[in-house]
Subunit: 340 residues, 2 copies
Amino acid sequence: MAARRTPSTRATINDVAARAGVSRGTVSRVLNSEVYVSEAARTAVEAAIHEVGYVRNAAARNLVTRRSQAVGLIVHEPHSLFLEDPNIGSILLGINSALSEADYQLVSLVIDSDRDIARVAEYLTGGFVDGVVIISARAGDPIGHVIAESGIPAAFVGHPIDIEGIPYVGIDNRSAARAITERLMATGRRRIGMIAAGLDRDSGQDRLAGFTEALGDRFDAELVVEVPLYSYGSGVDGMRVLLETRPDLDGVFAASDALAAGALDVLREAGRSVPADVGLVGFDDSAWAVRTQPPLSTVHQPAGALGRRAAELVLAQLRGEDVGLGGTFLDTAIVWRASA
Amino acid sequence: MAARRTPSTRATINDVAARAGVSRGTVSRVLNSEVYVSEAARTAVEAAIHEVGYVRNAAARNLVTRRSQAVGLIVHEPHSLFLEDPNIGSILLGINSALSEADYQLVSLVIDSDRDIARVAEYLTGGFVDGVVIISARAGDPIGHVIAESGIPAAFVGHPIDIEGIPYVGIDNRSAARAITERLMATGRRRIGMIAAGLDRDSGQDRLAGFTEALGDRFDAELVVEVPLYSYGSGVDGMRVLLETRPDLDGVFAASDALAAGALDVLREAGRSVPADVGLVGFDDSAWAVRTQPPLSTVHQPAGALGRRAAELVLAQLRGEDVGLGGTFLDTAIVWRASA
DNA sequence: TTGTATGCGTTATCAT
DNA sequence: ATGATAACGCATACAA
């Protein structure tokens, strides 16, 4: 068992070297498992490390190597969404898994106030991380610009409208939205509404565009309601408005499953049966989709794969590879359940 | 606008000093907003900083100050739970808010594999963080022991059974469980079952103990089913077993809202009306509780406050205060809705 | 109020 | 294969 040490006296390489009867250089070589070390030296050093309870000082190491072996994940969400968004967890796990394999530490930084913005910016530019993945950034996001200017290897999951010069990975929201809307139309619905959200990101705009495209001539602007968040509560609000302005609707495309869940409860309250009276479809294929009654027909989003891919984009840059600046788009699939 | 710099040539204090025509010491003093700096020097330095695009090197700074102004949050959860647990988000925001006010950066580290354990342990002991909050640690958790031995300022949210020497904050699970069970009994239920989970933490054990206590003589071990996770899926499984072994039950206490949601769907499938045939109560007062039909009667858990308090415990230690080793318990409240 | 000099704990370069 | 020694970029004690 390592000797109990007070926090004020941490063992250094010097201590280990003295104990093992070798030089600092040799200890360092053992630590970094370099080639030219004798078996005798190695075992002596390893024993000494254990005896003095040595742990490497990251700051000193980072200072000279100019690397931290860490990659940041920026999550910038309004409270409510962060708590509810079921994709974030999967994306995070996907990122972590890719980084872990490459022996990088993922550190997540949440931005929840203006104070946070400044502090996180310093953290990133200060060298605590070698790269960064940004998730769900919105238009006008200051952190995105800080990162773009700093030149630190980065990748977005999703693509904020106003930032260029950073590669991103996402899905083809427009095609997916068009596809599920067409599927909904194929069930015979004639007056289909949409609850649109997140119009400050291209994902939100594209879902609306796909919806519009699918409807073609039959598109009716009155049947579209805009809400601020991809949340259950916004779904409730949106559906109420829709039902008010167009009580004759017989189909709804909600821009997320959470919105659809909210809409579903409002429809139920209003005495509309789903899918008999109104066909309802969502987006994300999140945990929501299988918990509603009836379960939601929706678009499956490969959240874990999105995260993994973004992490790989950062890792590639860290290796000095040129990854280009365009977007990478992963496939979605329609999952048809009972809500339409 | 700052001059565009290649990543290979970052400006240092020397560059700023040269530009401003002062010494490194003065620049450093400006950077740390110390008292004895002339107005002239300050403005000159600030201009120079901007002109050369200087950003502080965190590694160098940490090396000499022996502090990082960062606090880690360890989240160690099986995949499914991490994605579903609605409390984690609130706890995280509570922690972040407290740390942010004290100008500390919260960095979240998720443990999702054995590789992660070793890497995170190195990250923590290496000095990347000054303190750490551990959430939902389980018995036998290696990270908990690493932290305990390292002597790094720490606090648990919840309390793993086998770790001493680290302060923790939680709720009185036993009293809360007893209270809601008694409330359920007061509705006239005679054969109340429990879906218990997380028995490798004291929270899980205490909820079971509270349930047992409330029932007193009427306790029947056959009416308790143990499931591994606090998840919807486990709720489904648990309720199936319960319905199989004791089809005559008329009340259920699920150890979490997610479990209750799963149980509710099974009851519905089985043709049991809630609350008419079976009274159902949950635990957590999470988002689940208000989304089920009917909404759940449950125990409100002050998740945000728990996180904030844990962060404050770490901050106090960072200030050199003695916070003791005991637990801090925050109040819960019963929220009675329509499921019982 | 400011400048100078030293050291933080590593890695890396050079001898040997 | 190993040992000395010089950075890395900053804060700080001390001198001025």
